[in-house]
């Protein structure tokens, strides 16, 4: 059973520093006077202020530095003489749990938050921000829980008809490597919702993913259609060319026509089509240079008790 505490711990891993940090940060310059800092801190009720020089973080100055200055007589002096230089920072994309560990290790009251790539200051985070951020997320999750209760896991049992054939289609863009595989991972989730056995989902997802990658890598795009009935899942991947020159050769493990860029991305080892065959119960390829290639894949769902 998942307890409420587990849920909170989970949120701390899920949330990023940027989800909890304060984004509108009041800053001072190293050349500002301590008197100005004093006014800014009491006006905005701040306990620590990042010091910015140009667009870089030069240091941080906190209420304890301010007190030290006051104790020394509060004479005219500049922020740069009292600030802590090269302060410890967090990156905005780090998990919140990492921030908590750092607070625990270093016992600081706050951390400036930097963007990992540009190194620019994007926010500031205190322990209080972490608590607030976590509470907000908990509330949000709580509201979403009811929506999530819905699962279509008894779809085929709940829907009555002599024959059910669920058809789902995806348009696949050629050469769009960034989004390649999206149809297959989406289908994987859909099949899970339909209550299909994990082993069947896995085989379907692998076969579908290989077919989808082929379409993205070698063709200018096409469609993938998934037909699901109570007995089998049928995938039809249809592209508009250029077609496979020698299907027999293409079915051999290790045979590939992939260009170097494909191999650099981790594909094109000549494993795709053989792997589809391995994962499926039926596979057929029709290909001509004019009409393109149509790959048909079938995976038998089988009864629940047959595993």
């Amino acid at each position: 059973m998942e307890t409420r505490f587990d849920k909170t711990a989970e949120i701390l891993f899920e949330l990023k520093v940027e989800d909890a940090m304060k984004k509108d940060v009041i800053t001072v310059g190293p050349g500002d006077t301590m008197t100005m800092l004093n006014e800014a801190m009491s006006k905005h009720r701040l306990s620590g202020v990042p010091v910015i020089e140009g667009d870089r973080l030069a240091g941080i100055i906190s209420i304890s530095d301010l007190i030290a200055w006051l104790m020394s007589g509060g004479k005219d002096s500049l922020v740069k003489d009292w600030m802590v230089k090269e302060p410890q920072c967090l990156f905005s994309d780090q998990p919140l749990i990492h921030a908590i560990k750092r607070f625990d290790q270093l016992r600081f009251g706050r951390f400036p938050v930097l963007d990992r790539e540009s190194g620019k200051l994007v926010g500031i985070i205190t322990n209080g921000d972490i608590i607030l951020g976590t509470l907000r997320k908990l509330e949000h999750e709580y509201n979403e829980e009811e929506v999530r209760q819905y699962r279509a896991s008894h779809f085929f049992q709940d829907i009555n008809a002599d024959r059910i054939d669920l058809s789902l289609s995806f348009t696949i863009a050629g050469k769009d490597f960034e989004n390649a595989g999206n149809a297959s991972t989406t289908m994987k989730k859909n099949l899970k919702r339909l209550g299909i056995r994990p082993e069947i989902i896995r085989r379907t997802a692998i076969a579908s993913y290989e077919a989808e990658m082929n379409m993205v890598i070698y063709t200018s795009g096409g469609t993938m259609t998934f037909n699901i009935d109570s007995e089998k899942i049928r995938i039809v991947a249809k592209d508009s060319g250029p077609g496979i020159e020698n299907i027999e050769l293409a079915m051999q493990e290790g045979y590939t026509t992939a260009e170097p860029w494909v191999r650099e991305l981790g594909f094109g080892a000549g494993m795709g089509l053989p792997n589809i065959k391995k994962c499926s119960d039926f596979m057929d390829i029709q290909s001509t240079p004019v009409t393109g290639t149509t790959v048909t894949i079938e995976i038998i769902i089988g009864a629940d008790n047959e595993a």
Binding site: G266, P274, K278
Partner: protein
């Protein structure tokens, strides 16, 4: 060991993980920069170590049922990749160690390759 221990051994930074995932028991690993080679294996490793850093690594893990992906040699995951890992529920982490060192560290702590038995029978 559990995933959390592997993170500690590799001094890795987890970009995405849920509490229950960190307690998942892991026994096997695979190291490869070739996703199509990973996908054709019969057995599924618990974790995948790779120097390849793109969205397809996460999709491969999702499709194949791999619990966690470890980017080696200090490769940084992009924001899109982290979002994808969240969406696909694949634990994503980065270590500064090289592929060789990462594998060695995990092996010395009992993590084995998925194809080990097969490899053994092939060699004399």
């Amino acid at each position: 060991m559990i995933l959390q221990e592997a993170i500690a051994i590799l001094e890795a930074e987890a970009h995405y993980s849920k509490a229950h995932q960190l307690k998942e028991v892991i026994r096997t690993a695979r190291a490869s920069d070739f996703m199509s080679e990973v996908l054709i294996e019969d057995s599924v490793p618990d974790i995948l170590l790779t120097g390849l850093c793109n969205a397809q690594v996460i999709r491969t893990a999702s499709v194949f049922g791999i619990k966690a992906v470890i980017f080696v040699r200090g490769k940084l995951a992009s924001r899109q990749m982290i979002d994808l890992a969240v969406q696909e529920n694949v634990v994503l982490m980065c270590t500064d160690y090289s592929l060789y060192t990462s594998c060695g560290k995990l092996y010395s702590h009992g993590i084995r390759g998925v194809t080990e038995k097969k490899e053994k029978s092939v060699s004399k």
